[in-house]
Amino acid sequence: MNGPVDVAQPFRGRVFRYGDHVNTDVIFPGRYTYTKSRPEEVAPHALEDLDPTFVERVRPGDVIVAGWNWGCGSSREQAAVCLRYAGVGAVVARSFGRIFYRNALNNGLLAIVCPEAVDTLEEGGEVEVDLEASAIRHGEAAFAFSPFSPAVRSMIAAGGLIEQTKRRLAAG
């Protein structure tokens, strides 16, 4: 297993392209949801029912580029966790299922709405994702996305919602 990439720093990877309405059942099958929860248990099943070869091919820092409503359906957080621990740094889409969107950012997986990048990026293309600059770079091209709020960026820098909450509770 690849393990997660540090998304607070610019990172590079290749593009995996998928379509519209990719749901959390095909990202992480429901038959595992009440028996597998830990990152190392869930990562080997990433995209199992959508692209069974994905897990063998993905490398740290790779980026998923998809259409509308990525991550619709079930609230299962493993859908975000399995991608993150398989090595995916970001999902770039036209829109996201709302629970997946929150789960992704809470776990340090970038969920980026950027239709221009979706229009242009092709399977296997090399990209760099720069959170600080709110930009996705591909060769000479650069695609800007709406900056994440300071609160979201500080949560990602802290290592996600759980780490941030630990600090908050420790601070009283």
Partner: protein, 451 residues
Amino acid sequence: MTEVGRPADMARTFAQKALASAGGEAAVAVGQIVDARPDIALSHDNTAPIAEIWRQFGQERVSIPERMAVTLDHAVPAPTIRHARNHAEVRAFVAEQGVGHFFEVGRGICHQVLSEEAVVLPGDLILGSDSHTPHFGWLGAFGAGVGRSEMAVIWATGELWLRVPESIQIRLEGKLGDWATTKDVALTLIGKLGAAGALYRSVEFDGPAITGLSLDSRAALVNMMAEMGAKNAYMPPDQAVFGYLAERLVARPGRRPGRGAGHGETAEEAAGRLGERALYPDPGATYAAKHVLDLSAVEPRVARPHQVDDTVGVGELESVRVDQAFIGTCTNGRLEDLGAVHRVMVGRRTAPGTRMVIVPSSSEVWSEALSRGWVADLAAAGAVFGTPGCGPCMGNHLGVLAPGEVCISSANRNFQGRMGDRGSEIYLASPAVVAASAVAGRIVHPREVMG
């Protein structure tokens, strides 16, 4: 809450009112981030992994035990040792933390049970680690799904930030014809607006048709709005809703200190109190979109594999052979649904080569179906029954599918591989269409079976 003297431009949606209330604010704007304090925090079989996350915070006690509701429903009774260990961990956590509302294996599906038990009331905010939490809009509550980490944070802090969503209004007019149900209404809407048609939004129903809908029918429609991407959905609660809840509150006095019925309170008094806490959108509130649907024009519809918004009229389908018919889930596993199945199947039989699985949504539904004699009739018709709960909806057990098999289902999702092998196929329809298809062995309109 007085509306007198409020300028027209301050007219607010249900979502604005509910999240203002949950955030302790006088008024909130669309797009505003609110630190919301849920009245109820719902989790189910996923309670044990959430507890594992929560323990990382180093707290000895959760901050809101009395607001927590836990059901065992997603894989019940435990189909494997791993599931059994998960259930055991949930029970131990519930006992250790004094969780206010716990429902054992067999009581039923979280959304149905918390409705029957009057745990969620009009005007409440309920956050659940389950994507069908918008369900509670059928009784005028704001329900939204969250992830496991967020639920752990809610247990620890009692709050979570939420963005006040834009709302869309769907006005329902007219009356449903014979064989048309609110499942067909939902599939019509989702087919028209798309699986992302209400993404991030509050779907707020309105119109004269609502009071004419049974409570079971309302729940099915609101529940399905999750499949349109909705953050939450809402129906304006009326006396029928207040009466349903009041009866149940009075039967469980003191269950919810400060919220449930007091000792000696009559159902009428409780209903009046519920009416006072109900929230309604203001006339003139701003909606991102408005739609009108004439229920009399709705026909039985089917969603084809593997997308909920790929819908067609049941008559437009080419002949589709059915291996399994499934009745159940938080969408269509209630008494009215079993009644529709009974109407179609009594005195008939499942077709050779077609099996039928029925999983009532709660023990209350199961008992009532038993006492009405429906269970015996349906068993004679060839159906088998599962323990009240989610059943095979997400492929855990009780009727998973082999490669190449086709299931017609009264559930809410037909995603690839959801009920079993990724080479299986799921069609979604109303309970009556599912029952007729079980009898015919292929997907048909109930008229074809009933003559």
